[in-house]
Subunit: 376 residues, 2 copies
């Protein structure tokens, strides 16, 4: 029986699985399934993409005479997912069909209005996995490991079809989450599509900034703009495919922009003490406090408080490795960590999050070993 | 001669240094100077704040009969920095006076228009250091280590006054950068104030989101909204104090919001293929690509390409420590790292940035030691 090497749990998907579209998600899925011994048949409209996916080991190109797939995964761009799902339902009358498009209501509506009885074999899904790079060249057998994989059953989806898609998610290491199509689309507008637009719009302001301004960039700017490196065409397709929910979220953000601009214009005209200028700005920041506090912590649980230990680390070969080696010797588990870089100096700050009870022992032991522990 | 323990280089600031305002920046500066043996005199309008700063070791409260300071650092909120600088220039006629307010043009204008000949002893400055927490309780002797410290000489500042402030920055481990006041304010609007507003406005949308939506939160959302946890009152003061430049940057972002909204509304009404809907959205994302590529890499140098090695790490006590210990054994320096958390699963992805030449050896050696190296 195929094994998942990460967890050493037997996988339940038997296959063959047919993957239609060999971009980042399709090729990664092919790699992950191939790694656990599930036969993968690949399809792509582009012979070049198909060959690349084959060459990296994501599966074999589908060929006449192939055994019928038990499961078809449509991993095309979201704007063509609906028609491709319909074609797959017709071409493989014994197979369960899913798609991995990042927008679900439109695909579901397209399939459900045109699919007839075949829709019983269709279940939408969305693995919450991605990276700034795209295409099979960036594919990764572990892309789905530990990520949520949203399962979106339709009103007519057969229970065994839902189970097959859920099993696929589990077999590649993802954590399945069931949501309705509209519920999913509203959620990703807030947690993925709006942050992408905001990051891009902040980064866009840097295009014309003087060099000296960029020299003042700190960790805050780097964090806010990291995802601004994403693919423009792919994102334009995702955003138009979820236009309603994204527009609602962006319109609300635009109202905050208007509120802040009115307050800033008052302050610019009448001085920083201008009546009605600080209140609205403080409320915008305070609303952000409330929102960010709701983001769950590690492992999807409630936000959890860790203690922090910060160490000044000379940026020389082996120093960070030596630090973590010695933390390991002390026997303390690092729950999270944050590296802060220096501008113009060869020193960095490493902040380790550890269980609160471990803070004191770690500070003492690292200090004893000669590390410069920053007073908390 | 006082020593800076981080670098073991003798410090040149002799003091006494008088620190006016014992919040995060003032108390951190007091800690840093005290640590290298420079006498620090503390002032604060609040007896409670003053006592806290004394108790954490940031210096002694100023008292009648104290020796005259050679340098006064005004670390009050930015809205009162101007008057406090003027008072310090008059009270200490032999001292150089600086302030650390995050907005510079307004303070400079206030001081230069009212300070008479005393302005020769005034030099504005801004250490680019901070954290989400505020107040002396969050103070840290290493807060300035490796950060840019902007020096803003006025047209009438004496060269020895500029040197004294520059020396202070170097002595607490910061990297001095000289800019004009307006140049500084325009720069921080782009690299600090606009990102803060955008992060807060994205996070604010989560306040009313259903729990299920928050369960889909990934690293992108966490990065974009990390700084949304900042202090509302402090930020309202900072933003109104730099109202002109922040309004210009926010207005440009607001134009992008309007462009994106128009495209999204077209797509929502006419379907994702609607004419004129994908182009404007792709251009917004592409402009972000251009901007984010200009953010300098580590050490303030040009962005530098590192190779990446990604490892699947079981989230069990000691595993991350063991990994870094073994990276140290292999002799490879970690230039940067990124930890990605799992939702609902006890596994994480650690991505190590290393020199390109070290990628192959690290992958081989870690694989040989039994680590699950993710194919790049």
């Amino acid at each position: 029986m195929p094994q998942n090497p990460a967890s050493a749990v037997p996988v339940a998907t038997t296959g063959p699985v047919r993957v239609v579209g060999t971009g980042l998600l399709g090729a990664s899925l092919g790699l992950a399934l191939t790694a656990v011994g599930v036969p993968v048949q690949l399809e792509d409209a582009s012979p070049g993409s198909l060959a690349l996916a084959r060459d990296i080991g994501a599966g074999r190109p589908a060929a006449p005479g192939d055994p019928e797939p038990t499961l078809v995964v449509v991993a095309t761009p979201p704007d063509v997912a609906g028609p491709v799902v319909l074609a797959a339902l017709r071409a493989h009358p014994g197979a369960v069909v899913t798609d991995v498009a990042s927008v679900k209501a439109r695909v579901a509506e397209h399939v459900e209005s045109r699919g007839g009885d075949d829709v019983a074999r269709y279940v939408g899904s969305h693995p919450m996995a991605g990276r700034e790079r795209s295409g099979a060249a960036a594919a990764d057998a572990d892309l789905f490991a530990g990520r949520p994989w949203v399962i979106v059953p339709g009103p007519r989806s057969r229970p065994d079809a839902v189970l097959a898609v859920r099993t696929l998610a589990v077999d590649v290491g993802a954590a399945p989450v069931t949501l309705g199509a509209q519920e999913h689309d509203d959620a990703v507008a807030l947690v993925s599509h709006l942050p992408q637009l905001a990051a891009s719009m902040v980064a866009a302001r840097l295009s014309e900034a003087p060099e000296a301004a960029l020299g003042l960039a700190g960790q805050g700017l780097r964090d806010v703009t990291r995802i601004a490196a994403s693919d423009p065409q792919l994102w334009a397709t995702i955003l138009t495919g979820n236009a309603g929910p994204v527009a609602r979220a962006l319109r609300a953000l635009g109202e905050d922009v208007a509120t802040a601009l009115a307050a800033l214009d008052r302050a610019a005209a009448d001085g920083p003490g201008a009546e009605g200028s600080t209140g609205p700005l403080a409320r915008v920041i305070a609303a952000g406090n409330t929102g960010v506090a709701r983001i769950p912590g590690k492992h999807g649980g409630a936000p959890r408080r860790y203690g922090e230990v910060t160490i000044l680390v000379p940026d020389e070969p082996g120093e960070l490795g030596r630090l973590f080696g010695e933390v390991g010797e002390v026997g303390v588990n690092i729950e999270d960590l944050h590296l802060e870089h220096s501008a113009g100096q060869r020193v960095g700050l490493a902040t380790l999050s550890v269980l609160p009870a471990a803070v004191a022992v770690l500070e003492t032991e690292l200090g004893r070993r000669g590390w410069h522990v920053v007073a908390g």
